[in-house]
Symmetry: C3
Subunit: 363 residues, 3 copies
């Protein structure tokens, strides 16, 4: 499918200039764009490279001098990065999953499928599952007993949803995403060394060998609208009540939510984030890649944590955090800088001791 | 299925009081429990909220004043957390996997299935595989050539077991868990820069480009009884001998065991733990979330490592560890505290230098 | 299949001594080798244990005194670790995947399969996909619309390749490996708190709640020759252009490459490595387990990062890095040592202050 510059600008509600009848078939980086592609050059840094490519039209920024860049047409958004969301939605070629229910799919007769639901080859929909209108269940996907997905779900290949999972509308699962595993919850008959070490900051008391006995998982997972779960990410069921994810929260690849976790609305959990059991996370929280959160703590609204941060205790709303253990970002930067000066400091203090205590002795 | 309070207490061997003929259909948190649910309120903190719900009966603690809490019946365990294991086992609704061999499953005629083994839709059992009595092989699961699983295995959806994997009884795999991949073992024709850097603590010598050649994986994985592998976790085969996991050891989600790793009995490896190749881990070891262990080291019996700890060298038995690099927990806490005072220390030493060396000059 | 010592030595181009007609069926560790197995004892440390086993022949090192070790034959390589690559390739029993196209596989009529491609049970090859000669597509695998794999690919069970993914020859995917998910790219209508915090090192400005809008993924993934992706690892598509992986680069298990990442040739990315979006990594880079790389930075050729390192800013070529934040390895070791002395330093400075400022007052 192709679009004219005018059609795109119109759909996005953005100003377009020049020959807006130019027709494009896709988007490309400035240096590699062909004459039928829209170059994406959202700042002067990228626009410089338009000369290396053959683009006739580009997505620029609001006051860009598009003619000086040698273009015949341009789209001039005030917030280019936001314009990208609408543009890429228009141009998305998708995965080519077929509509309808593939004959190799296994759909239990008691499952309820809404209008225009498609089920890919070798997908399984279990007894009592309910899937909202317009949903796409991809190849090799699994939807467990009684699970409920809202309207417009998209499950990519190999995604799976266990029993007792409910998700709202427009739920997206990337390939291999898993929701609904059992929680990691074990107990010993007598108090364990871990319980002792937690109480004493390290002293385990008398170590003894005890088998771990499973606490079974009776809860499920409740997921709001517009949630996305990344490739091979994992979300556990809650023990007694559901693990919960709010509206519009997005998980990147290989992220992990333990049992009983509550995540609010509008959160971004980046790649390989790990949230231990019974953590509560507010709204508008952004956790960078490989952030870890210890069990049973609270992370307030609007908290931001830089990549690799390990949050080991409660974090009040609005804080920006960094490091291990996670500390306020500005203080952590100060510590890092100080740490780099530490070897020199050791020498300086040795000199001082020599000067002071030698002179003291000399008194 | 419903149970009376008396039946539950009897099955768990725990004292029950009040009208033990009350019948419950499930468990719930105190504030949301309905009249037909058993409230779980294992400490006064949770019991406070019983008034918000409608529970007539609750699981409390041994000397709880159940009547003052407005309950008609109560179960009063001496170790409530342990009581939860038995209680949740009784109430676990499971995944609803059907018994028998689903017609869409592909079971090689040379595979040996014990009594009452069930194989879910679209599961594959390869040639020569042996599966113990009472095992449940879930939907989309894969059991490789010659793999052996003991009695009572439970493989959730999308779990896979490669060739040369043997597991004992009651083996549990959560969705997407993988055992039996090839080890990550490569070699260059001439010594590589990594070998040089390891010897010299950083100096790589003359960098040169060499392709990595695979060392193939000839070994398998040997797994004891009562082992569980979490969602999307991965366990590699050993190079020459097997990678080994002892009895009653549990892996959480997204954990990684490299080739030749040996893990002992009764260990807990929490979410996103990574164990590099050829590590040996003792018994009763507990590694918190996102702990990493460098290759070729030993972790003694009873070691506990807090979340995010990176163990870079051998750890003697019984130690509690924290931090990066992993250090004894109490020393690490001391370092963290000292580090927070470091910016002030830098100022103090600057003042001292001024005072001492100025006064020296003034002598 | 069995081999004589002479056959093996000949195939590897390595000297063999003694009764090279001895026939072996596999390899084993010295202490557990049977009489029909080749013991692997690449250094005196391992050779010591030959006496505990029954091996008649062993792979040793170039000047090993094989007769003193009680062996009847030996292979004496100058670089034993490299000899292991050839030896294990000869002895690799594989996974036993059958040749041909399994009747339960779903191969779209428009897919092009080269000569001698095998497709396992319940695998799916989508419309327009092209798979090179001699490739093995394992059980439960998925190859998306239009995806292209070169000659000699090996996809283990449950691996998946999305649309717009192209890989070169000899591509290996371990079980559950995923290539071709959508990038993790979201934008808010107005500038978000994260953008503010990044500019100000922590100050988020006025927090406000805004929904995250998806930037759709239009690009694909381009992968060179001889690349391997580990179990349950994930590689995202690029936003506009492709995410790229060079020749001969290897990813271990549970690794994550974000959208637009470029990785060069001959890199090793160990277990649970995470590379955020738009990172560029040179050639011959080795990242240890659980290394993280922040978005939009450059990692030069030949960089080596120790396990757990978090690279938060550009790294020049040739550097060896360690720690969080990642620092040159030797400086980081110095900091670690200094940090351990810090609690003592605090005491020393307190003493000094007392001595200096008390004596000052006394003047």
């Amino acid at each position: 499918m192709t679009h004219t510059i005018a059609e795109i600008a119109n759909a996005l509600g953005i100003a377009a200039v020049g020959d807006t009848s130019i027709r494009i078939s896709g988007a490309a980086e400035p240096q590699s764009a062909g004459p039928g592609e829209l170059a994406i050059a959202m700042s002067p840094k990228y626009a410089k490279r338009l000369a290396e490519g053959q683009a006739r039209a580009a997505l620029l920024w609001s006051d860009a001098d598009w003619e000086a860049l040698g273009l015949e047409a341009a789209i001039l958004p005030t917030r280019p990065r936001f314009a990208m969301s609408g543009l890429t939605r228009m141009l998305d070629p998708g995965q080519g999953f077929a509509t309808g229910i593939h004959p190799s799919a296994i759909v239990d007769p008691s499952a309820e499928l809404g209008e225009a639901v498609s089920v890919g080859p070798l997908a399984i929909i279990s007894a009592g599952a309910r899937i909202g209108a317009g949903s796409v269940i991809g190849p090799h996907c699994f939807v467990g007993q009684g699970a409920e997905l809202g309207k417009g779900a998209l499950l990519r290949e190999h995604a799976s949803v266990g029993a007792r999972v409910r998700a709202g509308d427009r739920f997206i699962m990337q390939p291999g995403a898993r929701v609904g595993g059992d929680g990691f919850s074990f107990v010993t008959a007598e108090p364990s060394t871990v319980e002792a070490a937690r109480k004493s900051l390290g002293d385990q008391g008398e170590a003894q060998s005890q088998p771990w006995i499973r606490i079974h998982t009776l809860g499920g997972v409740s997921i709001g609208d517009d949630v996305e779960i990344g490739m091979n990410s994992t979300v556990d069921c809650g023990t007694i009540r559901d693990t919960m994810i709010g509206n519009n929260t997005k998980l990147d690849n290989l992220a992990h939510l333990g049992h009983n976790v509550i995540v609010g609305d509008n959160c971004l959990l980046c790649g390989q984030v790990g949230i231990a059991g019974s953590v509560t996370i507010g709204n508008n929280v952004v956790l960078g890649g490989q952030v870890g959160v210890s069990d049973n703590i609270f992370i307030g609204d609007g908290v931001i944590a830089g990549g690799g941060t390990k949050l080991l205790s409660n974090v009040p709303a609005g804080r920006s955090m960094l490091g291990y253990p996670g500390t306020q970002m500005d203080k952590q930067m100060e510590s890092y800088k100080a740490l780099r000066r530490l070897p020199r400091l050791l020498k300086e203090v040795a000199e001082l001791r020599k000067a002071v205590f030698k002179s003291s002795k000399g008194d």
